[in-house]
């Protein structure tokens, strides 16, 4: 029993490490793509690895008080925990042990820990930044929760692993609930704080908001957190709507299935990430009221339509995947 437990732990560790590496790679690709959109050469794709290396190797690190340390610790631990609960490339890590609502609240742990650390830096910019971040969270959570509800009602399950199986057997989320997928993608733009919605970390207005007092190893760990959260949010979208990239059934093909699924999953999250980056490259930044009004108007209407569609299909038309 201990042996396969260790193998499981080893695999989870490998998947988490790969997730963070992919996250940093995606940040590098995003900077390259944005540069190309702006007709610039742009940094090398591995630039973010150098940035994180430089930050972690900084000589002096400034900290304000013991609550200040909460930010990097809770942020990194929380995002790794959330990634552990998310099936990546069909490999169901801990997602059998917890369900979508648990994952939703685990994603709140790093946000709250990061907000605590930022608040403890006694800098008014940080306080305003966190206020904006929480308001943005309230705004994009409205359509996102409606979308999750539509999925749970339609597939009649809250556990991600069974959701993957049902998507494989019945139809992908994007095929069954296209309207909800659109609302989810709009909500994703706010969740990943990409350009029209990077209000909380606005460098020009509030000196990069909550990050104002973080430098050196603190900023390095927070960069790992943001890398992990990129993979987390894109994988969440892929798992909910694109069947988690599961193409070959692991039961029949064994290891090859896992590798192929991993590649397909990688391509899917890359596509989702590119949509977000291309929107990011061309949009100015909204004010927080505009973002709130936007999210509680159009994406919420779309999400409600998706919910109604799911409700009708599952209750009246009796479609049971």
């Amino acid at each position: 029993m201990i042996v396969d437990w260790l193998i499981q732990a080893g695999l989870v560790a490998l998947y988490l490490f790969l997730a963070v590496v992919i996250g940093l790679l995606f940040m590098g690709i995003a900077r390259k793509v944005t540069a190309r959109v702006q007709n610039r050469v742009g940094p090398p794709v591995y630039q973010n690895f150098l940035d994180v290396g430089k930050l972690l190797a900084k000589k002096t690190n400034i900290k304000h008080n013991w609550i200040f340390d909460f930010a990097p610790l809770f942020a990194l631990a929380g995002v790794l925990l959330a990634l552990a609960y998310l099936p990546m490339g069909g490999y169901k890590m801990l997602s059998g042990e917890g369900d979508l609502i648990l994952l939703l609240y685990i994603m709140a742990i790093p946000a709250l820990g990061f907000a605590l650390g930022a608040g403890a830096s006694a800098n008014p910019n940080a306080g305003v930044g966190v206020m904006r971040a929480l308001m943005l969270m309230l705004s994009y959570e409205m359509p996102f929760l409606l979308v999750l509800l539509a999925l749970m009602i339609f597939y009649n399950t809250a556990s991600l692993s069974t959701l993957l199986e049902k998507q494989m057997s019945f139809a992908w989320g994007i095929v069954a609930l296209p309207i909800s997928a659109l609302a989810a993608d709009l909500a994703l733009q706010g969740m990943m704080m990409e350009k029209p919605f990077d209000i909380p970390i606005a460098p020009h207005e509030i000196a990069s908001g909550p990050l104002v007092e973080f430098g050196g190893k603190y900023l390095g760990m927070l960069m790992l957190y943001s890398a992990g959260s990129i993979v987390l949010e894109t994988t969440l979208f892929v798992d909910l709507f694109l069947g988690g990239g599961v193409v070959l059934n692991p039961a029949h093909y064994g290891i090859i299935a896992y590798v192929v699924n991993y590649l397909v999953w990688f391509v899917f999250i890359f596509i989702v990430w590119m949509i977000a980056v291309l929107i990011n490259a061309v949009f100015p930044r909204f004010r927080i009221e505009q973002a709130f009004k936007f999210y509680w108007k159009w994406p919420t209407v779309i999400a409600i339509l998706g919910l109604i569609q799911a409700y009708i299909m599952s209750v009246f038309m009796g479609v049971v995947p």
Partner: protein, 605 residues
């Protein structure tokens, strides 16, 4: 254990304690503490043997000590124990009177939980409600009057319910209500009256107006009122819906996807309460009002669970009531400790107290995790059960309201944390000391169950299962560490192990390099001088949100009541003008009246 010992321990002992502690003056809370501890010990000892007895004190009281009563008594006893432990060092004025009234309230609460006939229920309900009124009176008459209005309203609703039952069955016993004599439509009236009567105590939306005012009195009392006594409302609704009426009666109103048509509107009302309570809590600047609206919001969740009526929903409601008893009283005690040390109520006036009062900050932080439903505390499990219950039955109005309300809970939670404990430490708070030891002990007692039941949810789910089966409902399936619903489940053991391991990984990366501590003035203010004035961004914290919500915030139930009452006051004022007091007017009135009658008489002929 027979009738008299049961009655003696849970009712007479606190009464004697109330009497004795009045003369204790400064040491009154300690005396009261001893009496509450005794009842606590007996509660622990008598876990096994339940039974129902009748006591004859002039009028026959029907008392039953079963698992439901035990479960609710556990909450109320712990909460009052920690409130009194807090009051020991809170040097309240006239502490003797305070502890007497607290013990009277405690007696009333015990009586309500023990009683199985409407007479004793009403007797103890009035005793508890009266003692709460006088306790609020200690702070301000105006708040107490508002509470009294709603207290009396709730008493009348309960009497109406009891009256109808007595009219049909002729007896006050709970069991007799089910004797089939009461017709179908009468049950609707009985349940509506009883639920609204008990709902006032749980501050459901239309009847919540008293809560923000009542919660602004002394913090130890408020933590008992909001943490303990609001559970009596839950107990009342739970008993009246599922023990007195029973599932059969409820389903006789027709079921909508397995949920009785009577329960669904109350569940909807609960969801609206959760949403409105949370949104209002976000904009409050006074810490007590913010916690009051947040308490209304959380009790809205409990109301949803009670309304839905499936075993998972009821289990979630009971568990959430249990959690709410602990994290809400912990929050009020934390706020009380801060108010005791700084003497300020406004969040924007405080700031940076977390550096001076680290333990209070940690306790409040843990309570906030419980409130917001972070999986590190048991707060998450109860919310999870309520969500699963709503999603299981595909309720597409209740579930989104609850989910958005929980996200709203993050907003006002951070407002408390940032406004009071983080941000810049003001000059006058430089020498604020940590809260005294009894206060910290009280808060520690309240924090324990939140942590324990998050690691091992099995124990409390066991108790909840006994309560459900005791009232004849299907149990929920769970094991020592995991809990399931029909559409999902979660295992807290793997969660905690994974969290510990990954937290260790983060710490490993973190301690590679040491960090230099700088004070709060060595900060980046765009190159400007680190001024001695602490820049704290907590004033009017969610202003953009308030601007976007402004059109909706215009309507408020408070103002509706005020306009309603003003309408009557002006009306009566007009009538009063008639009695001018000098005889000529009266003579004139008589003449006019005579004339009018003359004309009518002439016209009729």
């Amino acid at each position: 254990m027979d009738a008299l010992t049961l009655f003696g321990i849970f009712i007479l002992l606190p009464l004697v304690g109330a009497l004795l502690s009045y003369f204790g003056r400064k040491y009154a809370p300690i005396i009261a503490l001893i009496f509450v501890a005794i009842t606590g010990i007996f509660l622990y000892v008598w876990y096994g043997n339940f039974g129902s007895y009748t006591v004859d004190i002039g009028v026959k009281l029907n008392l039953t000590f079963d698992i439901t009563t035990w479960f609710f008594m556990l909450m109320i006893n712990t909460v009052i124990f920690s409130s009194l432990l807090f009051a020991v060092s809170a040097d309240l004025k006239n502490a003797g009177g305070f502890s007497t009234l607290m013990l009277l309230g405690f007696t009333g609460a015990n009586g309500v939980l023990l009683s199985r006939d409407f007479l004793s229920l009403y007797l103890f309900w009035e005793l508890m409600s009266w003692s709460v009124y006088v306790l609020i009176l200690r702070t301000s008459g105006e708040y107490a009057r508002r509470y009294l209005l709603f207290g009396v309203l709730s008493a009348y609703f309960i009497i109406m319910g009891i009256g109808i039952i007595y009219y049909y069955t002729g007896s006050f016993l709970y069991e007799d209500a089910l004797s089939g004599v009461i017709p179908y439509y009468a049950w609707a009236w009985i349940l509506v009256f009883l639920i609204l009567g008990f709902g006032v105590k749980m501050a459901i939306i239309p009847l919540h107006v008293w809560a923000p005012y009542a919660y602004s009195s002394e913090q130890p009392f408020v933590s008992f009122l909001s943490g303990g006594l609001s559970k009596l409302g839950t107990f009342g609704i739970y008993m009246s819906m599922y023990s007195i009426a029973g599932v059969g009666i409820l389903d006789s109103f027709g079921t909508f996807r397995g949920v009785s048509l009577l329960g669904y509107p109350f569940a909807l009302l609960g969801a609206i309460t959760a949403f409105v309570g949370t949104i209002l809590a976000i904009f409050q600047d006074d810490i007590r009002k913010l916690l009051a609206y947040s308490s209304i919001g959380q009790l809205g969740y409990v109301m949803v669970g009670l309304g839905l009526g499936t075993s998972l929903a009821l289990g979630g409601a009971l568990f959430h009531a249990f959690n709410h008893a602990f994290f809400k009283s912990l929050l009020f005690l934390g706020a009380g400790a801060v108010i005791y040390r700084t003497g300020k109520y406004k969040i924007s006036e405080m700031g940076g107290l977390g550096y001076r009062m680290p333990f209070t900050f940690l306790f409040v932080l843990f309570a906030i995790f419980g409130l917001a439903g972070i999986p590190l505390t048991s707060g998450f499990i109860s919310k999870w059960m309520l969500y699963e219950a709503a999603i299981e039955k595909k309720f597409v109005i209740i579930a989104p309201l609850m989910l958005i309300a929980s996200v709203g809970a993050f907003l006002y939670s951070y407002r408390i944390l940032y406004g009071i404990f983080l941000g810049g430490l003001k000059e006058e708070h430089k020498k604020v000391k940590e809260a005294p030891a009894p206060m910290l002990a009280a808060m520690f007692i309240l924090m324990l169950p939140l942590l324990i039941f998050s690691i091992v949810p099995g124990w409390i789910l066991g108790w909840i299962n006994d309560v459900l089966t005791n009232t004849g409902l299907k149990p929920i399936d769970y094991t020592q560490f995991t809990y399931y619903s029909s559409i999902g489940g979660a295992n807290m053991a793997t969660f905690w192990i994974a969290f510990m391991v990954l937290f260790f990984v983060a710490v490993a990366i973190f301690i590679m390099k040491r960090a230099r501590v700088v004070n709060q003035y060595d900060n980046y203010f765009a190159g400007e001088a680190p001024s001695s004035v602490a820049l704290h961004a907590a004033h009017n914290y969610y202003k953009p949100l308030k601007d976007t919500w402004a059109p909706m915030l215009k309507y408020s139930v408070d103002r509706a009541y005020e306009k309603f009452s003003k309408f009557f006051v002006d009306g009566f004022y007009e009538i009063k003008k008639i009695y001018t007091g000098n005889p000529q007017d009266y003579a004139a009135y008589l003449g006019i009246a005579f004339l009018i009658f003359l004309i009518i008489g002439w016209w009729l002929l």
